[in-house]
């Protein structure tokens, strides 16, 4: 079990497509890092670079203090589970699980014991003698996971392991991963585009977009203090409301205004925005933080409910404030479409991003 | 003897080029181009009609078509160097008599103009008959269709056509040694010969005996007549201080002396004409064995094969055969005619036995590395080395042009076979180095012809004592040769250590075939084996020099 260090990794495909852009991060020994980002953001490329399947255009990979950039994947001792379940189709499930052990040239007795243990842990015992290629996706992925964690690798890379299997098996598999992690204290990089998976599993979350590591922090911080407007929008369900506003100083306050929106913050709190020369910033507020009221409140803005989505435990309101659309969540009262509501953005929940999308406040 | 396409006018060098390139298109195009051009040249540049050389044999009718116009002549066939070498007057014919001259072609033309005659040719290369095609078509007014059949399958193909009675070919090239198998399907050509005044007796008995039936019926006109000679490169023997060997013992002694010299200079003392398993083994051994008279596998009054020989002369011959292989290029044990010829013409050997074609082709600088014409090489042609007896070389077979009973154009087919194989034509073909050799007494005894084909002198002097190449000319000849050859071969490749045992095994195999085919029970007398015996039996004059 090792610490993973990535230093200034850049990878360009075909001399044109920049998949990873000068990325540096560290994954501490025994931690689970969830790598989150939309499709095509470079997550998988990064994983393959760690595994050694791709040689980065520039930059280096370290395990603990040792540089591994030039080491062949087969000698890195890194385990990986792929998004599409990969099994050795012509072998039995048993042989699949035994494969990495055979590669390590372990004794037949030890292999047998380990495979048996692993099969029991993953509930694969009934399938052991069957051809791996003939199993369903869930069993395949379970086998694939077993193959990854059956040996003591430096780290385990899980590349969206739950994406392509049915919801029921997904739960079982997730549970197995969590149990494994709890028992072995293994360093794990877990790629996902499912933020709830990331937020619940990860010790730390790394958010990527366009090959750039946007934020690498605890899940709480990523949620509460997104490093950029992209992270802000990407994290959360639905993501943060982002409203482009003009601002001006009015007395001891700074007033942010957009069509239908008017928010003011104490100057001391928000004076950083004055560095923004374009005169415009982006206000951010999470839907769940928006205060709603049927009665008029101080500094409240008036909006109309245009859509009401009730998805089980979550209810999402789409509100129209003149020309601006805002989403709010979980009102404490019944709302009907067409109804007018008073809306307030609590000061402490407001985030401000500059025109480049970087967080100011 | 013609066994492959390389032998005829395609030539060895172009054959090598072609085979090396393995470009099918080039082969077809190149050969076709080569064949068409001289053909056109021959038949369009006829300028003078020289009647002065016609020596009174032809009775020309008023409506006669002048045969000279359509008839091959040296200057229309030969290359310049050949004419220079022989010193011939190009406007003259080299033979004095000819079948073609005795035929009234005017009558033929009025009878057969517009009709078609077909011929099955040995070899996909039909250049030899093609040479004569335009002339025949001109002189007879008929049209001729030629079908080339690969030599490897000609025998089976013809048998299949004949037994099925397809009547597809009006005339076909038949391989002499196995010709008896065709006998039931062929017509006797003598009546036609009589009608047209064609003197078949001019064919040397040696080349007539194997396709003659029990009652003297003749199966076909001889097309290619071959006889073995001993050949050597005298300059190599001279350098080693050797005189030309006349016996097999001397041959082996000479080989021993030449071996170290050849090893230094890149040649071998001997070239094995052919030896490959089967009938070729049988023949090669046979050509030596016949020099040991006591072998007498002619002692056929009882059909009993006697390959060992009364004084084990056959054993001695087989031992010589094996010894010769040691003095030949590696792998000669499986030599075929083609490979042996390549080796000889490439200058890989000092001595050999062969048909007439090898020595003649040695002269051609285009074909041969050892041509005496532009080096100090001397090719000597001698009678076969002697064994214990003073016997002739075997008569290594002939090719005939036979006419199947199913033919619908028998007479026209006969005329074509006569035209193509007339004395003048065959003399020219032999002197031109095509490998197609003349079997006419009037040709091989003609000193003028010897200038173009030096081997003819030796042939003429030895043919009267010749014997058939095959064990006995019956339809089973091939099966016998093949079976006996396979047994004899075992001594050569070492799987049977005793030469005598190998020959005895061969005798047993042959006896089995004869027994199965019923010869041992019938009491029919086997056909004679030597020319001398044959002439006696048929009351013919054996032409001697």
């Amino acid at each position: 079990m090792s610490k993973i260090t990535l230093k200034n990794i850049t990878h360009i495909y075909d001399k044109r497509v920049k998949a990873v852009d000068n990325l540096s991060m560290e994954v501490d020994d025994g931690k689970l890092v969830a790598l989150l980002g939309p499709s095509g953001c470079g997550k998988t490329t990064l994983m393959r670079i760690i595994a050694g399947l791709i040689y980065p255009t520039s930059g280096d990979v370290y395990f603990d203090e040792d540089r591994f950039t030039d080491i062949e994947p087969e000698r890195r001792n890194v385990a990986m589970v792929f998004q599409f379940p990969v099994v050795y189709a012509t072998m039995s499930v048993y042989e699949n699980l035994a494969f990495p052990l055979r590669a390590k040239k372990l004794g037949e007795e030890e292999i047998k014991r380990k495979v048996k243990e692993m099969a029991e842990f993953l509930e694969l015992t009934p399938y052991l003698e069957m051809k791996a290629g003939k199993q369903n996706a869930a069993i395949k992925q379970m086998t694939s996971l077993g193959r990854a964690i059956i040996r003591d690798a430096r780290c385990v890379l899980l590349d969206e392991p739950l994406t392509n299997i049915d919801p029921h098996s997904r739960l079982i598999l997730r549970e197995k991963i969590l149990r494994y992690r709890a028992e072995k204290k293994q360093t794990i990089v877990y790629v996902t585009h499912d933020q709830s998976e990331a937020l619940t599993l990860g010790d730390k979350i790394a958010v990527m977009n366009n090959g750039i590591l946007l934020q690498y922090d605890t899940s709480r911080n990523v949620y509460e203090r997104p490093a950029s407007s992209f992270v802000a929008y990407f994290i959360g369900n639905p993501g943060m409301n982002l409203i482009e506003c003009a601002f001006k100083k009015v007395g001891s306050k700074i007033v942010f205004e957009s069509d239908g929106i008017k928010v003011s913050l104490p100057y001391e709190l928000a004076k950083e925005v004055e560095k923004e020369t374009s005169g415009k910033v982006v206000l951010g507020i999470r839907p769940e933080h928006i205060e709603l009221s049927k009665r008029k409140v101080e500094e409240g803005m008036l909006g109309t409910c245009v859509l009401f989505e009730d998805i089980g435990i979550t209810k999402v309101l789409n509100l129209q404030l003149n020309g601006t659309k805002v989403r709010a969540k979980n009102p404490e009262f019944e709302v009907e479409v067409g109804e007018k509501l008073y809306i307030r953005f609590p000061e402490e929940r407001l985030r401000i991003f500059n025109s480049k999308g970087e967080i100011i406040l | 003897m013609r066994r492959d396409l390389s032998e005829k006018s395609v030539g060895r060098r172009s054959f090598l080029k072609v085979a090396g390139a393995t470009a099918g298109g080039l082969i077809v195009g190149g050969v076709a181009g080569y064949l068409l051009n001289p053909g056109e040249k021959v038949w369009t540049t006829v300028t003078e009609t020289t009647t002065k050389t016609v020596t009174g044999t032809a009775t020309v009718s008023p409506t006669a078509v002048p045969w000279e116009q359509y008839f091959p002549r040296a200057d229309r066939i030969m290359k310049d160097w050949e004419l220079k070498w022989t010193g011939w007057d190009p406007t003259e014919y080299i033979t004095t008599t000819d079948w073609v001259r005795s035929i009234d072609w005017g009558k033929v033309k009025s009878k057969y103009a517009g009709q078609t005659v077909t011929m099955a040719c040995e070899g996909v290369d039909i250049s030899a008959p093609q040479t004569f095609q335009p002339g025949f078509q001109g002189i007879s007014g008929a049209s001729l269709q030629l079908f080339g059949i690969p030599p490897e399958t000609l025998h089976e193909k013809l048998m299949a056509e004949f037994t099925a009675g397809t009547g597809r070919y009006d005339t076909a090239e038949l391989f002499g040694a196995w010709a008896q198998a065709y006998f039931p399907y062929m017509i006797d050509i003598r009546p036609f010969a009589q009608t047209y005044g064609v003197d078949l007796k001019d064919i040397h008995p040696a080349f007539r005996m194997m396709n003659t039936g029990p009652n003297g019926e003749l199966l076909g006109v001889v097309e290619d007549a071959d006889l073995h000679s001993f050949i050597c490169r005298k300059n190599l023997l001279d350098k080693a201080g050797l005189k030309i060997p006349t016996t097999w013992d001397e041959v082996l002694e000479a080989c021993e002396v030449l071996k170290p010299i050849g090893a230094k200079e890149g040649w071998y003392p001997w070239i094995t004409y052919y030896s490959a398993k089967g009938f070729l083994t049988f023949w090669y051994w046979g050509t030596i064995a016949v020099q040991f008279r006591d072998v007498t596998y002619t002692r056929l009054d009882s059909w009993e094969p006697n390959f060992v020989g009364d004084e084990e002369g056959g054993v001695r011959a087989l031992e010589i055969h094996k010894k010769l292989l040691e003095y030949s290029p590696p792998g000669s044990i499986n030599n075929t005619y083609e490979l042996g010829r390549e080796q000889w013409l490439a200058g890989l050997g000092a001595m050999a036995t062969s048909h007439q074609c090898w020595p003649r082709q040695s002269y051609d600088p285009e074909l041969s590395k050892i041509s005496p014409l532009n080096t100090d090489n001397i090719i000597e042609i001698r009678p076969y080395p002697k064994g214990t007896t003073n016997h002739a070389p075997e008569n290594i077979t002939t090719t005939y042009l036979g006419i199947p009973k199913t033919s619908k154009q028998q007479e026209l087919a006969f005329l074509w076979s006569v035209y193509m194989n007339s004395q003048e034509s065959s003399a020219l073909m032999g002197c031109h180095g095509t490998g197609v050799e003349s079997g006419f007494v009037s040709v091989i005894s003609n000193p003028k012809v010897w200038k173009g084909q030096p081997a003819y002198k030796n042939i003429w002097e030895t043919a009267w004592t010749a014997a058939t190449e095959t064990f006995v000319y019956i339809p089973e000849a091939y099966a016998i040769e093949e079976a006996a050859g396979a047994e004899i071969y075992r001594y050569l490749d070492g799987s049977e250590p005793s030469a005598k045992k190998a020959l005895q095994n061969a005798e047993a195999e042959v006896r089995k075939i004869l027994d199965k085919a019923g010869y041992l029970k019938t009491g029919i007398k086997p056909p004679p084996w030597t020319v001398e015996d044959w002439c006696k039996e048929h009351n013919e004059v054996n032409p001697k020099p």
Binding site: P73, T90 | K277, P330, E342, A517
Partner: protein
Amino acid sequence: MRKLNPGLLMSIPTLLFLFFWFFFPFLYNIYASMHYWTLYNPNIQFIGAENFIDVLSSIDFRNSAFASFFYTIICFAVELPLGLGIAVLLSREFKGVGIARVIIAIPILMIPIGTSIMWKLLTMPKLGLLQYFSEVLGFGVIDFYGNFWLASLLILLIDAWQWTPFFAIVLLAALVSLPREPYEAAKVDGASPFMVFTKITLPSIQPVMVIVSILRVLDLLKLADPIFVVTKGGSGTETLSAYIWRVAFKPLDIGYGGAVAVLYWILMFVLANILVRRFKSVIQ
């Protein structure tokens, strides 16, 4: 009245064709094999199993059966691994791989007898290019035509030159159609290239390999062309096909030839069945 099965009706032309061109000649051949029957002899006699006894007691038949199996084994043993090796090489991406894949296919397109003649020209004593190099390198003239082992080597060379690409191309097609992922997984799993090859590549292309091998083995048992060209069947190199040709078609002895053909057919039939049965599960 029962209706005729349309499937059967449609098959009738094919069945007729099969009957006249395969089944009937086959039965006729068995009939012929029990007779003394040459094409030039009108007397056809029933002789029972005599031809078969003759064939089985013939040294040449046994030798040629041995030669057939010998060449089948050595040619197969060389061509399959070599073809596989070439296929693996060509399955990689490198500059010029497209051209290489085309070039490797050329020998298959050549006429077998032409290939043999080409090699014979290369190996003629003192005249062939290979012999020249052999002499230059001090090995002297090599007896490629008269020595069983060297002739066999040449026959092997000819056959391998022409037919290794067959393995290579079919296996290449199988290789390039394999999914990439298991290879990456195996690398990550720490497998050595050898282990990847034996545990993943080979099992994955095994069905194709088995089919192409069966085809090739049955084809090799019919080997004849290079034999005719190199040795004319001498020096112990005569195969069964060459033997049949020699004893059946030249002497026109269709009785004896028929008997050899029947025995040959039995051999092939048994062998083909064993092979197909043995590898049935793999193929499916």
